[in-house]
């Protein structure tokens, strides 16, 4: 970092507000942040390197271990990429079940992100309420997939478990319980005067800067960019879906986008349950050779897998671009710059829902 003044304010690598280790070096003048630099390398897994040369059956399990919070979408994008490369069809029922799993994962991820933000601005009460609701979403994921974190639910040509009639009822009734709670907590967040003081007009990311850093997901949508890869996904197109977009670009907008997306996800799951087609959940197929770039909308934004496989389905080359790479960069180089209080550095950084496990892969 090129020094302008000689005061450096390091945040991390271990910080009570960080979920994972990362070091943020801020150069400050008084309390004003002039520039910031991100230092990674505290939890590098080298997972892309481990994946190379392995059969898809092993890589599938490695893919979801990139991130414990959004493991479903890593599983989904990798499997959909292999299917597209090998021409493997997916039965309609399995496609709907995939969407249900993905949206439940988005709900729990967004609630965890908003909990982190509330915790960072010292509003632990609301944070704990959110974790309580998240637990119900996690229970539903466990009911559907059989696991809470690493589920390996999606396989080429379908999913591993079907939804039983009893599960259908339990998911519907739990969503009926969650929805009013989410509405109440959203109102608490949007109308809380102290929350507003810590969130409105803080950490602004303009649309131009968001485009420059290629910000994605709720971070981009809170800055007025209408981008959501779910709109291009065939199953989501059938179900019907509209992205949540706000224009304020501040911490408040980013948290509110996630709250509104939780409500949107509940609606998507309900429509899936209502229109769930009958039939098989696995069609079968053989993964073959090819090269593909496949994208999907993770809870944090655009997730891209660059895959190259040989005729036996072995992964010859793989490169993974996770949404946190772009969003952390936007956060450190645009949102934090100009912060007039050091207390806003942590809250602004957390408002972008940074995932270091994804970034370091």
């Amino acid at each position: 970092m090129k020094k302008v003044v000689d005061v450096s304010f390091p945040v991390g690598p271990v910080h009570p507000c960080w979920k994972e280790p990362v070091r943020l070096k801020c150069e400050t003048k008084g309390e004003k942040v002039l520039q910031a630099e991100v230092e990674l390398g505290y939890m590098k897994k080298g997972i892309e390197r481990i994946m190379r040369g392995r059969p898809w059956q092993e890589v599938m399990f490695l893919a979801e271990r990139i991130c414990g919070i959004c493991s479903v979408i890593h599983n989904m994008v990798f499997i959909e990429g292999m299917e597209a490369m090998s021409g493997i069809p997916v039965p309609p029922r399995a496609a709907y079940l995939r969407v249900i799993a993905n949206e439940l994962d988005r709900i729990q991820s967004h609630l965890l992100a908003n909990f982190s933000y509330c915790y960072t601005i010292e509003h632990e009460t609301l944070g704990m309420y959110l974790l309580n609701v998240r637990e119900k979403a996690m229970d539903l994921l466990e009911r559907l997939t059989g696991a809470r974190v690493n589920k390996a639910y999606m396989i080429p040509g379908g999913v591993r478990f079907d939804l039983q009639a009893e599960d259908h009822v339990i998911i519907s009734s739990t969503l009926d319980q969650i929805e009013p709670d989410i509405m109440r907590y959203t109102r608490m967040f949007s109308e809380g005067p102290l929350i507003g003081l810590r969130s409105r007009g803080i950490g602004i990311l303009s649309e131009v800067h968001a485009r420059e850093a290629h910000a994605v997901g709720p971070t981009a949508r809170a800055s007025g960019i209408r981008t959501d890869l779910r709109t291009q996904h065939p199953t989501y197109q059938k179900i019907g879906f509209s992205p949540v977009v706000r224009t304020e670009g501040d911490n408040f907008a980013r948290v509110m986008v996630r709250f509104q997306e939780v409500a949107e996800s509940i609606g998507i799951i309900r429509r899936c349950l209502d229109g769930l087609p009958e039939g098989l959940i696995r069609s079968g197929g053989v993964c073959g050779a090819g090269t593909i770039t496949h994208r999907g909308e993770a809870p944090r934004g655009e997730l891209t897998y660059y895959l190259k496989a040989d005729e036996y389905g072995r992964i010859v080359d793989i490169s993974i671009q996770t949404p946190s790479i772009m969003n952390i960069e936007a956060s450190a180089h645009y949102m934090i710059i100009g912060a007039t209080s050091l207390a806003d550095v942590t809250s602004t950084f957390i408002s972008a829902d940074p995932c270091i496990a994804c970034t370091e892969r």
Partner: protein, 128 residues
């Protein structure tokens, strides 16, 4: 005094730039300026933090989409590309180069020749 967390980050940065997507980007930039990949890599390691290095391929892709419809001279020189997207040059230096290219065109040089001259200036500014 040795500070616990103050490390030499160059090996980490080097590893980031070794991914296949970064390699493709570095090769494209090296071909553009007629220099070797290690020269570009060294310049980036010196100038960028780890997060910007991680994000370079995404930034480059976004810039390719955004540059459609922009001024052809600016696009050929990489005015936005090298000051905002991959900020290897200070905006003041790029403004000066753009101004000199504008003067050349005004004085009767063809756009191609002026851009070539500007391209040489960008290369000099980047690798001096």
């Amino acid at each position: 005094m040795d500070l616990l967390y103050e490390k030499d980050l160059r090996p980490f940065k080097f590893r980031i730039l070794m991914s296949s997507r970064h390699e493709a980007l570095l090769r494209a930039l090296a071909a553009r300026f007629g220099v070797s990949v290690p020269v570009i890599r060294k310049r980036m390691i010196e100038r960028f933090d780890m997060q910007l290095l991680e994000n370079l391929p995404a930034r480059y892709e976004a810039a390719e989409q955004m540059s459609e419809g922009s001024d052809p001279v600016d696009k050929a020189l990489g005015v936005e590309l090298f000051t905002r997207v991959i900020p290897l040059l200070d905006p003041g230096v790029m403004d000066e180069i753009r101004h000199r290219v504008g003067v050349l065109i005004k004085d009767g040089s063809s756009v191609e020749d002026a851009v070539m001259a500007g391209h040489t200036l960008v290369k000099e500014a980047l690798f001096r």
